[in-house]
Symmetry: D2
Subunit: 251 residues, 4 copies
């Protein structure tokens, strides 16, 4: 596999992690997942025992996509730890994407509860992927606590505001020893490309695809964008200049 | 052909127009052209009679890429008209990309000479593609003068500053009846994706690829980025919000 | 006078040029003008013979503010030249701010008609201040044609979008030999400060003040902002850095 | 006093808090302080017993500026608490600006140590002003812990990158019940104006002034900029529009 995405000891060829929330129905979701090329997709554990949730798991199994349970809806470390343990039993995986949000209006992570959750789940043998704000210090703390990946936001969940602070993402990337996955805030394809150009290892998104007018088409857009950004990052872009420079020297 | 790019009465499947300037050598250029998937590539007429120029034309012919002669290096309408006529004779095409720049430091188009050139070449039967600044008024004037496409810059040639004024590009797109091709200033893949998301019909670039550390890889990045942006534009992105919105409603 | 603003051979201490359009009534306008500290204020000639227009001129005279007639509403050089000549007769000044816009939706200048107007009015002895787009080439052409000042927009009139393309403003400033006045698009105080930091010699605005909820207060804001930006430009700002730097070295 | 800045039960007329670090010498610092109009200025306690530190305190006393001791250089809550207690004894004030940074390269706050410090110092009777990152959740947590003000950064200390994430500052302002002071990252006057326009109650800065080419002039620029931004915020700016709008309706 050329340029594999290695996370938690696994290898993926796709660098696009999808979420399942927000889709109109399972058929729409399935077409979007296929078009995205994703190999790893989050499932909200607090929805799994509902019909929708179970259907999602079956769909992922049929498509050969690894499910990544998350703790969406948890507000405290205690809730998140319990949810992760239930997920491990229900899905037979010790992978968990940790979301511990502080409130409904921002859905931003609570830094203290998040760090506590990571510590406890790592101690309990989990492969913990931590959804975090874009604070470069917290990202390091999460890594030190054993997170298998840090997943900084571009902007709050569902806002579609893209990457509000590229400088912070660059600071996180510059010092991370684990994969950095841009998570939350992606609104359109150029946002995803930019995330990869800033040095992220992967992009995670949900509603940018599931709530687009044409989810399948937007999924294909994101797939291409992530590939584009990854290639551009390693291709070595031209520097930015104040004055122009002709492509051909004058004769 | 799905979603063809129609310009000057021709149909292309690729929406990436390449330039040939800036490449280290013909072998590098060829690999980049192939990786880009381009079907239309500019050639500077004032370089064609040099060895490099001739070689470029042979390469394009072998690859089945349409050559698009340009008037790079011209400062006046008189020079540009003459260059276009020489190009028509030499290459057997009445297509011409018009560049009439005002000075070497900015390489920005001279609006008056440009408009004059378009009028004269259209009257002489040319299919005139006009490289222009991002002024929405000039773009309309060029179209009224018969330009087959308007090619506004994102930023000055070779600067890699991307699209400095997305608002102007949106204004141009909102009123254009001919294809709009974002030309000049592209630095990396997300710039190209953004151009398409703003509604441009195609992207033109040269040194972003030819002067990248790995031109072939950057060409592939740009190919994916243009596809991504085009898909995203038509997929209908989610709106931007100030407050967050959960992907799954709380149970 | 410390750091005078010299334009067209006159000296002003204020670097804020106001417009009179958009005010709810003359009393509001007068308070705003006073709060702004302006010494030069545009008057739309096509409104002067209406009651509002005459009242404005009397107000300016009483306040000791120089009137600057403009050609707002003109679409062609012929109209603008005629309007300027009427203004000269009516107001006894050969100063004219030239506005020749292309259409109502963008109110953007028509570059060809604008340049033609400048040439004709300069030949006729006018001190011509040219409202222009932010094209660095057109700015130079206007200067070569004899414009006493170039007045590039930050964004289209009345949009409040601020300075959409700081790079273009910097390019204009870098090469101008006449005063550069940022005109149009200003929405709030930081926009005006930025204009001065980019090197503009003055700022011109109207509806950002006259249509603010509290015009008098916004006028005071703009006055402070222009002063702030002017001082900051000449004070020599610190460079931008990627990594942090402590203000005090560690002991 | 018109529009006083109330913080920790005190009233100030200036909304510009200065820092003393980075000045070439005491004479330069004094002129800058005077030009800034500041009434509250931070002093690094870890420098106070050195000659420079003592001189700074005497200067502030002479100028009638309140000293605000800070814990710059501290890495842990324990260090910060001890430093605050030493400051209280040495300066006879229970006001403290809390800085607990995680590392030298970013000088970013450590969120966990910072929150712990605030809790401990509030319990010990301090008026605690918390220098924080721009995380809206942490800002609320600090307020809940009893901070008298939250002081989010615009960008890392000394970078001059301005306000990298205006959206976060707006989110903090929208939910804060204590004063919000934009602290760190300011590079030039328009940055300070923008901070106030976003709704901050005050601006804190040091090296943007002390390391400018002309500190006194930059201090005056910042004073005007803070005033400008404050006025503009309350004056009610015009909305942003996509299309233009004439200031005078056509006759």
């Amino acid at each position: 596999m050329d340029d594999p995405f290695i996370i938690g000891g696994r290898e993926y060829s796709s660098r696009l992690i999808m979420g399942t929330g927000g889709a109109a129905n399972l058929a729409v979701l399935e077409r979007a997942l296929v078009a995205s090329g994703t190999e790893l997709t989050t499932v909200a554990m607090r929805r799994v025992d509902s019909d929708g949730g179970t259907g999602v798991l079956q769909t992922l199994r049929r498509l050969g996509i690894d499910p990544l349970p998350n703790t969406a809806g948890c507000r405290t470390a205690a809730e998140a730890v319990l949810t992760a343990q239930l997920a491990r039993e229900a899905l037979g995986t010790n992978w968990i994407k940790i979301e511990v949000v502080a409130d409904d209006r921002t859905l931003l992570p609570d830094p203290v509860e998040l760090l506590d959750t990571v510590r406890r789940l790592v101690a309990d043998g989990f492969t913990a992927l931590a959804y975090t704000n874009d604070d470069p210090v917290l990202a390091l703390r999460l890594e030190e606590a054993g997170a298998a990946a840090v997943m900084p936001l571009g902007s709050p969940i569902g806002t579609g505001l893209g990457i509000r602070n590229p400088h912070n993402i660059e600071l996180i990337v510059a010092r991370a020893s684990v994969p950095v996955v841009l998570d939350a805030g992606i609104g359109t394809a150029s946002d995803a490309a930019l995330a990869m150009e800033l040095g992220c290892d992967a992009v995670m998104l949900a509603t940018a695809v599931t709530r687009a007018s044409d989810p399948e088409k937007m999924a294909a857009a994101m797939r291409n964008a992530v590939t584009a950004g990854r290639l551009a990052r390693s291709a070595g872009r031209i520097p930015q200049r104040f004055w122009a420079q002709a492509s051909s020297p004058p004769r």
